[in-house]
């Protein structure tokens, strides 16, 4: 047993030494994921990052209903950190701010708005959207539609009460009552705590997604060298020594695991220290990394089992890694993906790793990632088991 462990370590250390000398391995395993994580997070805002915009509000009415809009839904946007809301004196100023990009959109409450509401007449609210801020304008319209719906409900209620009491409808009274009614907090608060909403910051998301994408390239270095050594004849020479084929395989798989853990570990640590990624509980992150590397190594071993040479293995690994990365949400958050793709992503290690990171980045502990750890381990053992069977034939093929 000690001789076997010694042989496994001897094989692994030789390969690791070679990889350290090989700059391409360092670039693929560490530099590329780190650089791409930074670039993606800077160049591709949105995604899992919190939405934030700015609105100009022009209240030309000043009446009670207008005040309830400004102090109600629009103030709530500000409180929630969704938008900065800036009051402006006239529409021309607001339009100019939108046109020069200082504001994403402007909301104009025309004079007589409250009176129109009180008289039951059609009342107009105007949204001026910037050319490059359609999402911000869309959000503003959605908020105003919700407010209009509330106004309509209040109008109906007040009119019903006045008619049933026999009082004459007084537009000023109705406008005042509408304003007061709209200012009353909603009796029912919808608590929306879907898991999909527990998302990591943009920086953390791309750090994690690039780490899991490139760990497949890092992990392939170990097992792919089986094919290179078979071609060079050094594999046969190793097998002529008093060691078994399984010992050689174990040495190669160990190299894949070490390279994968080092790659993901450096990316996690580096992005945390240098570009502000927040991965969460270190112990849980470490467990996620180890199980993800296990899965990547297993899949890489399986790929090697079907390849004729190291070039073919490299090509196949790239195809598999990129396909899994796209399906698994390495390039965009699964929370924005169609339902079908989101379901499909659950067959990839990427999705389970990113789901785990999302949970941990949101402050959850290791208990929140147990399912991710279990699935990743299962993928690693399953693919690795099949890979070992295939790779043994690679070792013994002459």
């Amino acid at each position: 047993m000690a001789a076997t462990v010694h042989a496994v370590l001897t094989i692994a250390l030789r390969d690791l030494r070679q990889r350290v000398r090989d700059r391409s391995a360092i670039i693929l395993a560490v530099v590329a994921p780190f650089a791409l994580a930074y670039l993606f997070s800077v160049m591709l805002p949105g995604g899992s990052a919190a939405f934030h915009t700015s609105y100009a509000v022009v209240d030309l009415d000043g009446g009670p209903v207008a005040r309830s809009l400004v102090n109600g839904p629009l103030a709530a946007l500000k409180e929630a950190g969704v938008a900065d809301v800036t009051a402006m004196a006239d529409e021309a100023e607001a339009r100019a701010k939108v046109e020069d990009g200082a504001m994403a959109a402007a909301i104009v409450i025309p004079a007589g708005f409250s009176d129109a509401v009180g008289a039951g007449r059609a009342a107009e609210l105007k949204v001026i959207g910037g050319a490059d801020a359609t999402l911000a304008a869309g959000v503003a319209r959605s908020v105003l539609k919700g407010f209009a719906s509330g106004v309509e409900s209040v109008q109906v209620s007040i009119a019903t009460v006045l008619v049933s009491s026999g009082a004459a409808p007084d537009p000023a009274l109705i406008a005042r009552l509408s304003g007061e009614a709209l200012a009353v907090p909603d009796p029912i608060i919808l608590a929306d705590d879907r898991t999909a909403d527990r998302v990591a910051s943009n920086m953390t998301f791309y750090a994690a997604s690039m780490a899991v994408l490139f760990v497949f390239f890092a992990a392939q270095f170990g097992v792919t060298s089986l094919l290179a050594e078979r071609r060079a004849g050094t594999l046969a020479r190793m097998l002529a020594a008093p060691i078994s084929p399984q010992t050689v395989l174990a040495g190669k798989v160990l190299v894949s695991i070490v390279l994968g853990v080092v790659s993901m570990g450096i990316v996690a640590l580096g992005t945390s220290l240098l570009i502000g990624a927040r991965w969460g509980d270190p112990v849980a992150v470490a467990a996620l990394i180890v199980t993800t590397v296990l899965a990547a190594s297993g899949i890489a071993l399986l790929v090697v089992g079907f390849a004729k040479n190291e070039d073919q293995a490299g090509g196949l690994t790239a195809i598999v890694a990129m396909t899994l990365a796209v399906l698994g949400g390495s390039f965009f958050p699964m929370s924005q993906a169609p339902e079908g793709l989101a379901q499909l992503s659950l067959f990839t290690p990427h999705a389970w790793f990113l789901r785990g990171v999302n949970d941990l980045a949101s402050g959850a502990g290791v208990e929140a990632v147990v399912s991710s750890l279990a699935v990743l381990t299962a993928i690693g053992l399953g693919s690795g088991g099949l890979g070992l069977l295939r790779a043994r034939s690679v070792v013994l093929a002459r």
Binding site: H6, R14, R237, A240, P242, R398
Partner: protein, 313 residues
């Protein structure tokens, strides 16, 4: 015969519908160099791979140093030093690092490993370049290191698979001398080649292999004897050539003796052992011998006789 270091019995291997090795049996004793002589594709490397436990076999048995060997055998393989045809060394490592790596796989460690690495570097004349990367080595230096790795753990059986393929004449000569020295030191050597001259020069016994089968086996003399060809001796001489030829024709194992234009041509059995007698009889009959040429039938002729094709086909 002492207990052989290597004993192969009825080895068989098929790849799909093709039979690569078909009932190969032979043995190699300590201090003996056994040559497997055959053209490319004859089954030499497949046979060696099964002997070294690198390839599973469909039938037969391999025993090395008293222990059976198969794929998955570990301890028994320690008795074998394998020198593959390819240069199975790491170009990114130095000669010393290559030796250390394979030495560790052979379960050497610590001072024993370092001592042995130094000895082998001396043996293969690479001590001065020990710490240079092998990617900077000449072809001959790489070949020497390739052989040195096989000797590192002091094996009982050294298996060399065509170690001189692609080697310049000078390095080839050095390799052959080294192998001959190793054989004389008591190592059992299995040497495959398709070069007749190497087999004749190095091997105590030779197995002629073709299409996966041993066609004949024995010493060079025994193999040549199989085809009935005799040695030819030419004496360049003066004096009484006719009487000398007649006298020589009566000598035992001389089958023909004819005098022609300053020469006596003889057809004899085992010319080397009979040569002193021939010279003595020729002188006694009045011939003045100036030079002697002995032409013995070679293994090329044997191979042609046995297989109907040339060795290098």
């Amino acid at each position: 015969m002492p207990t052989p270091v290597l004993d192969c019995r009825d080895l068989r291997k098929r790849f799909g519908s093709r039979t690569a090795v078909d009932g190969v049996s032979f043995s190699v004793a300590a201090g003996e160099t056994y040559g497997l002589l055959g053209p490319n594709g004859a089954g030499k490397t497949t046979t060696i791979s099964m002997i070294c436990g690198l390839l599973g076999r469909d039938g037969g048995e391999v025993v090395v140093d008293g222990r059976p060997i198969d794929v998955g055998s570990t301890d028994a393989k320690a008795a074998i030093g394998y020198v593959p045809q390819d240069l199975a060394i790491y170009p990114d490592l130095s000669a010393r690092e290559n030796l250390r790596f394979f030495g560790r796989l052979q379960r050497l460690s610590g001072r024993v490993l370092e001592t042995r690495v130094g000895e082998v570097l001396e043996l293969i004349a690479l001590s001065e370049r020990a710490d240079d990367r092998t990617s900077e080595f000449s072809g001959g230096m790489k070949r020497r290191l390739n052989i040195g790795i096989g000797l590192l753990h002091r094996p009982r059986l050294l298996v060399l698979d065509e170690p001189t393929v692609g080697v310049d004449p000078q390095s080839r000569n050095a390799i052959l001398s080294s192998v001959a020295d190793l054989g004389s030191e008591g190592l059992a050597i299995l040497y495959t080649t398709h070069y007749m001259e190497e087999a004749e020069r190095l091997c105590d016994r030779i197995g002629i292999i073709d299409e996966g089968r041993i066609r004949a086996e024995g010493t060079r003399r025994e193999l040549v004897g199989l085809i009935g060809e005799k040695d030819r001796v030419t004496l360049v001489a003066g004096g009484s050539l006719g009487p000398a030829a007649r006298a020589l024709a009566s000598v035992e194992r001389v089958q023909e003796a004819t005098a022609t234009d300053g020469r006596i041509e003889l057809v004899v059995e085992e010319a080397r052992s009979l040569l002193p007698r021939i010279l003595q009889e020729a002188a006694a009959a009045g011939a003045v011998v100036r030079s002697v040429e002995v032409v013995e039938p070679d293994l090329e002729a044997v191979f042609l006789h046995l297989t109907g094709k040339a060795l290098r086909d």
